[in-house]
Symmetry: C2
Subunit: 226 residues, 2 copies
Amino acid sequence: MPISDISPQPRHKTSSNRIRRDRYHHGDLTNALTQAAVHLASTGGPEAVVLREAARRVGVSATAAYRHFASHQDLMRAVKDRSLAALAATMQRELAAIAPTCNPIEDGLRRLRAAGNGYLHFALRQPGLFRTAFFRGGVSATASPDLGAYRAFQLVSEILDDLVACGGISPDRRPYAPVATWSAVHGLAMLLLDGPLAGLPETARGEAIEAALDLIVAGLGLCPPD
Amino acid sequence: MPISDISPQPRHKTSSNRIRRDRYHHGDLTNALTQAAVHLASTGGPEAVVLREAARRVGVSATAAYRHFASHQDLMRAVKDRSLAALAATMQRELAAIAPTCNPIEDGLRRLRAAGNGYLHFALRQPGLFRTAFFRGGVSATASPDLGAYRAFQLVSEILDDLVACGGISPDRRPYAPVATWSAVHGLAMLLLDGPLAGLPETARGEAIEAALDLIVAGLGLCPPD
DNA sequence: TGTACATCAGTGAACGCGCGTTCACTGATGTAC
DNA sequence: TGTACATCAGTGAACGCGCGTTCACTGATGTAC
């Protein structure tokens, strides 16, 4: 995964708008701490997101972190956000590699598979970030979940919308299609990472992924490509 | 969930084969500790499985636990085993409620949905145990995963075998059908518990479950019942 | 242009917490003789 | 039937750990005058 996926997005610009370093005032501690925490998550998963360690890596006292984050949970939320963004970025990269043809149904189908592959590839290549993205610790679920916040979900929804629009999927399958699709892909990711499928050899893993995508495609009433 | 699902299964019978209590020697500490730990997991998930607390609840010193478990991880494994057993028990209970008809395909289809429903109901009613069952902490995955150890998986595999045998599913869909099926159900459970679907209202939740089961049924090439 | 000063962003020491685990020990048990 | 003794299954005190968080403090900064 390119560094850009987990690189800092300015949260707190200085008045001069420059990033200052090697000074008493760090200049962009919020980002620096988040980035360090993201690296911790990338290596060791959500449990590895330790406020003190992030501060240590940035070369700052642990107390300094409390100027930028209200609590450990607050830092965790920032890491989760970046992890989700990185997941969406991986999916979008695989989507961008799909060259459009003249057949919109064929296109939609390939895009759907690409999105699923991106999701699963991210989970397998960045297990720490993937686990962190879906870590429930502390951060309580909102009463009415904001699916829009999950770019990954949005991407799938849009693809399915397109497929309905061009007649690839019958409209009555539409309402819960994204949730069902997401479930199948997410479940396989979980089983491959932490579940009983964790030790699966490379080839079997690939076959399982294909099988899950086949299930989705067939389940939505689409005809698989030749 | 009936108590029996998480009740003790003798691991360490005394020579007299009786369970002794109110004595200096507890008589069945292994089970008592496991059961206490299972209750902790049931309430607070895997993070709540604390050796010292389990000992406290049984009324025994923390040290005593080390006569029966090599480590905290060892206790955890016992709790995971019971959680998985409870999951399978719930599925089997829903399966037992299915009265067979003369149509084996229809039967298989209903059994498949019942198994899926049992899985999801367990996850929603016993989130702590469900999370614990699939907790990866410490317990490293074996190189070649032993799917047979997962009774839940076995149940689904058997149902799918029957459906292939009676012509309900074409044999070429068989190889990875259980994994794909499991993924879809497991993923929905995860999204409903810890994921972005956590706050979903009751009715929407039911619809999502139906949608996931529909996806599976359609994906396997089965015709849904009228 | 200087300078006083409010404010922002850091510091280091310390606290309490509760855990898993170990230590040297004691009470209970059942069996060989 | 009694008894010595090996063994099993408990006890209580203690340790180290590293965390999140708070405290009173100081260094740096930019602006009002």
